[in-house]
Symmetry: C2
Amino acid sequence: MQESEVDVDGLMDQFHAYLAKNQLKTTRQRDLIAQKFFAANGHISIEELLALTREESPRIGYATVYRTLKLLTECGLAAHRRFGDGQTMYETAGDTEHHDHLICVECGYVLEFQNHDIEREQERVARSFGFNLVRHRLELYGMCPKARGIKGGSCPNDDQQES
Amino acid sequence: MQESEVDVDGLMDQFHAYLAKNQLKTTRQRDLIAQKFFAANGHISIEELLALTREESPRIGYATVYRTLKLLTECGLAAHRRFGDGQTMYETAGDTEHHDHLICVECGYVLEFQNHDIEREQERVARSFGFNLVRHRLELYGMCPKARGIKGGSCPNDDQQES
DNA sequence: CTTTATGCAAATATTTTGCAGGCGC
DNA sequence: GCGCCTGCAAAATATTTGCATAAAG
């Protein structure tokens, strides 16, 4: 796996800093949810996150997950996103790791990547229009090797929205 | 206005082709919704689209808009998207016009552009992961010249989602 | 101790579906 | 005419909120 390791601690620090600055409290639930979220490497649904947190703290409910995710969104560490027709996913959005997405249109598998050449070009384009680039989002949709090879066969994860 | 004109006719053709190919029917409602959608230049919510179509055909309901948008999504002409915490937005995603977006975070102004160097790089990246690139979406967020100059002053259009 | 957060369930909001009549082909 | 579509309302989902209790600072 070339799953780029996320700096969970750093993100947790940012989260705590935000809580402190706004006189909000650090609770076990919030920490747990945030931790699981960050550790998920950036793509997770409310359901999945709830399931993960419940493994360690079964009483946690949807509301708390939603509320915590909202906090994370407010401080810029999370952002929701909908790939295809499926459920809403959340992804990490800290500056620390900036990744773009390569998404398989067959099986919905999401791969992350970074490419400095592209980023450099983006800067140039923005500047050429007089814009000051703050952030960007790039998604490439295509067919993954497995999907191409087997064509309707077994993709990394098959739970898909081919209508 | 330098709102780059979208090739509505071309998109409508693609839509009709899809309907025909799948033995679905061309109806006044579908055409109206699709037309309004394409003309919206790519960013519109269900509500807004419903309102627009109702201007000309007041009996249209949510269901029809949802259903039509689902069709458009299936044939690759639309895709949903959530900016910030707000409502779900739909955007055009036809291959015919391959432009990316440069969005002002201050005023929400959306500029379209094309850059072949970036596209070429995207191809390379996708290939390097064994993917067969089908389409992509690139959004650059930054501050537009006007926003930077006046800093909080008058941007082309002020109706924004700064969370 | 005081204030804020949690968990539950009820309230809202969003999206989908069933069905009878209407319309495109 | 036949079969797909529409509009309406009801159903299914998804998300938010109110409140009593529990926990954090």
